[in-house]
Structure formats: C-alpha cells, structure tokens
Amino acid sequence: MKLIDILNHKQIIMTDLNKNIQALRDKKAVVEMGGGEKAIEKQVAMGKLTARERILSLLDPDSFHEYDMFVKHDGRDFGMDKKDFPGDGVVTGTGTIFGAPICIYAQDFTVAGGSLGLQHARKITKIMDHALKMKCPIIGINDSGGARIQEGVQALAGYGEIFYRNTISSGVIPQISLILGPCAGGAVYSPALTDFVFVVENISKMFITGPNVIKTVLGEDISMEDLGGARVHAEITGNAHFYAKSEQDCFDQIKRLVSYIPWNNTQKAKSIEPKEPSINLNINEVVPSDPKQPYDVRNVIKCIVDDSDFLEVQELWAANIVIGFGRMNGETTGFVANQPMVLAGVLDCDSSDKAARFIRFCDSFNIPIITLEDMPGYLPGVDQEHAGVIRHGAKVLYAYSEATVPKITVILRKAYGGGYIAMNSRHLGADFMFAWPSAEIAVMGPEGAANIIFKKDIMEAEDQEAMRQEKVKEYIEKFANPYVAAAKGFIDSVIEPKETRSLLLHALELSALKEEIRPAKKHGLPPF
C-alpha cells in the first residue's frame, strides 16, 4: 500500500469518529433539554430549577456522571407508543458532595410531568442498587405528577420496586429525599421510608389524597399548601426533617448534613479539625435554678459542641425535644435534649417518635449519642392517651435500650418518673451518667409526690395548704437532688456545669472502641 493511501484511510476513520462523537453529543443535547423550552419555562415560572440544575447545584463541580440517558419508556397503549420522553422523566447518576461518593436521581417534571412508568422506575432502582452495592448515600429528588396512568399496573410495580429497595437499604446507607414539587399518592412512601426528608416553602406538596378528591368526597375546600405544603410537613406531621426557604437554601442544608454523616453503616463520619465552643455564654448561667423556669436547651448544646455548631433536625416539629448533630473533638455526635422552653419539655407521642427515630439513625450509623435531660414527665391529656402515648413512649425505651453506640447522659435539672427511665438512664444501658448539682432525680415532681405520700398529714392538718407547702418543701430537700440516685450508683458522678464538655470528651474517647454484643435475631419488634 502506498503511503498516501494509508494517510487517506486514516483520514476517513477520523472523519467517522468525529461524526460519531458529534452524533452522541447531539443525542445528549436532546435529552438534556428534557421536556423542551416551553416546559422548562413553565418549570421556571413555578419558581423551580430543572432536574439537571438541581443535581449540578447539589454535587461538587464537574463530578456528575449521568446514567441511562437513552432509556425509552414502555408505554404501548393510548397512543403512548408514538410519544418520546427524553430520559423517561428522570435524571440519574453519580457524583460527589465534599468528596463523598453519592448516587442521585431527580425526577424531571418537564418530561411528561415527571410521571413514573416502569422504565422511569427502573432507572431509579438501578441507581439505588448501585448505591447499596457501592455502599454510598443515595439522594432522591421528587418532582412528579405521580404514576403514569397510561402504563397502568406497570407504574405501580415501579413504585413497589423502589419501596422495597428503600427498605433493604435502610440502616445500611444514608437515604435522603428532597420534595421539590408535587409528590402525591403512593409516591410519598419512598421519602417516608428514607432517613431525611427535605422540603422547600411554596414548592413542596405531599399528600396521599389531594385537595380535589377531598373536595369531591368531603366537600372540604383546602389548598395544596394547607393540606400538604412544606410548613405542614415540617411542623404538624413530622414527615419532613428539614425546612428551607429556597431550593438553594435546601441544597446548602443537605451538604451540611452529608458532612455530618458517614457513607455507610460500616464507617464513621469523617472527622474534622476540632474547635472549642465559640458561643459567648456562661454554661453556669444558661439553666435557671428554679426548675419551673424555661430556657433554650440549644444554648447548653452550643456551650458543649465544637465551634458551637449544631445542625438541628426536625426543628419545627415536636419542638419539646431537640435532636441533631454536633461535633465533639471533630467527631460527629448525636444530641437528644428535652426542651423546657416548649411544653415544659414533656415527652408526648410526637416527641417520642422524633427522638426514637433519631436514636436509631445514630445507632445504625455509628454515631455516639449524648442525651441532655430536663423533663417533668409525660404530657397529660385524653388526646395523648387515646393517641397511644404508651405505644409511642415505648419507642424511646426501645431505641435507647437497643442502641450499642456510646450512650452518655447528662441530667441538667429535672428527671422525673418514667421520663427519668426513658431518657437514656443507666437502667437502659447508658455508658456514662453525669448529673449537674441542680439535678432532681425523683419518682415525680415534688408537689405530686408530697400530695400522695403525705396525704394523711395534709388531710388531717388544720391548715391544709400550709401543711402541703411544708411537706413539699420537705420532699424537695430530701429527694429533689442528684444524691439519692448517686447513692445507688445510678449516676456515676455529680459534675459542675463547666466540666461538662471535658468530661463528655473524656467519655467519648474512652468509649471509642466500645463493643456490645446482643443476642442474634432476625430483627427486633419495636412498638411501631
């Protein structure tokens, strides 16, 4: 062969290759336009970003690699075979957040309303399988009109396959859901099965049956926002864990959360440079000595954690208990604290559910738990009893007892009755029990106890009220302190507030290699 022919041949190959590359780029460009300009305009008009914009805003720059761009939908009936849905209404792939590997999917509302058909679901389950195999967190962005009705039972199959994977992955890899648009009917159950749900004001809508059905069946007129808007789920239902004012605000919250949690259940969260608390508060002065006076327990947490940096979870719902993440000596630590500022810090159905689920998350993902206790007991009321406060309250006992991560309690002030037992007492397996000198560890509040113990003395006294007061005082002096419990070894040491951080750091250091073996079982039966 002559040299000139060889050169020409190479030229031909190059041209072909370039053509192929160009064709790929063209194909990708079509898919990347999603539902097209008009649909994107509509999306923007609703104040929403597109699916790909969302993924790119969330992940580290240039880290996103998209999967399954060319998947075609399965619809054959009702003229669906003639329609093309780019990417079948969902964008899936991998990337990183602060270097952590992440699997991610985002439903694309601009394509067929983000409706879920079998192939759409298969794209999601493929990336979920990938996340579970690679043991990295999965993030799902929900923005969908619901099941693709034309595909019938295939769409239902798709949902079921997603729920199954949510369940199998539970406690193995962290699962995060964003509700950035409608998420209605069966679709709501994927987020509900995941660990953290993020909602955004005016954008998130979540419900099983929408306003139209409610209007038809009940005649009740309610807007989507009032029925299942972001605020409703953040404050009333507890379905959401984080509430944001804008999508960007939401992405920032997620990045912060990801920085606090490990990639999977075999790892610890990445530690960062330790820092001393930065808040300008004297820990001796945060908690009023009068046990009836309120204060914000988050200020105690901020006096204890590195850099006074605390990421609160479910801030608006069941605010009578505070849960969230902080760092101790650079290591992620979970906090559970009664909040005397709200409902006096009682345990009730919602706060029990909130605490129990968080404790189980921490235990699943190797995060030590610090409990700060100041609670007067359980919330009295018919509504609580009938709502099953027994069953809900039992979840806290179960979660603490079951947890094998380091468990440390600091009793700040009140620890009465069932609440004393529930809030990670020694009896449920706490590794370290500290109490401040202001602690009152007793079977119930002094007034209640005195009324029962000294009933006869009070009844027989000439001045009953004076006698009652005297007996209450007597009870307070004798029992409303940490020393009765300390005398039995139920608490390990009575400490000064300013020693709290250093002793907690000591306790955490000491329990770094903690191992607790439990009897083998298929799974326990928590009082769901």
Binding site: G219, K292, P340, L343
Partner: protein
C-alpha cells in the same frame, strides 16, 4: 429571649406549674367529649344513599338505619341501641365527613 417572655404560659405537669411556650399543634388539639348512647356518628366520610327508618319509629339494636356510600362501598349503618328514632341530621344525598352526627335515638 426577653421578647418571647410574653408568650410563656403556666403549664401543669403532675401538680407542678411550669412556665413554657405552647406549640400550635397542642393549642389545636381535639377536645374530647363523651358520646351519648344513641348518637350515631359517621366513621367514614361519604354520601348518604338511603335512609331506612323514620323519625319516631322504634328500632332494635342492630337494625338497619341507613346506607352510606364511603370508600366505594355501600356501608350499612346499624342501630347501636334499641329505642326510638328522635331526630335526623342528614338527608339522602348529603355528603358528610367523618365523625358527623347523623341521627339521635332515644334509648329504651
């Protein structure tokens, strides 16, 4: 904190009064009241399809009072007591919600 002080209310738990804030959910909690025997409430939202008894009529416990369509089902609402039908608060075709008082029976 100073400005929030105004919202703190007295809150009693086991005979002791605490100063605290209340949640909206707590403030809006349902108030319990005891149903009187003979008051028949709906247990599902739905439509009253047919009323089987008249006011003043005697009914036996377990006798059919009305049929309510709810959740795609024709539900037979039976009398919880033996007595006399006193008053109806619904008519055929009414769409009612859950826990709606449908009728009162004077127990015998």
């Amino acid at each position: 904190m100073e400005t929030e002080n105004e919202e703190y209310v007295d809150f009693v738990v086991t005979a002791r009064k605490y100063k605290t804030l209340l949640t909206n959910k707590y403030k809006n909690r349902p108030v319990w009241h005891k149903n009187k025997p003979g008051e028949v409430y709906s247990t599902l939202p739905g439509t009253i399809m047919e009323i089987a008894v008249k006011e003043g009529q005697e009914v036996k416990e377990g006798e059919l009072l009305l049929i309510q369509e709810a959740m795609k089902m024709l539900n037979r609402i039976l009398s919880p007591v033996t007595g006399v039908v006193k008053e109806f608060y619904v008519k055929e075709g009414d769409k009612i919600g859950k826990s709606h008082l449908m009728l009162k029976i004077e127990p015998k």
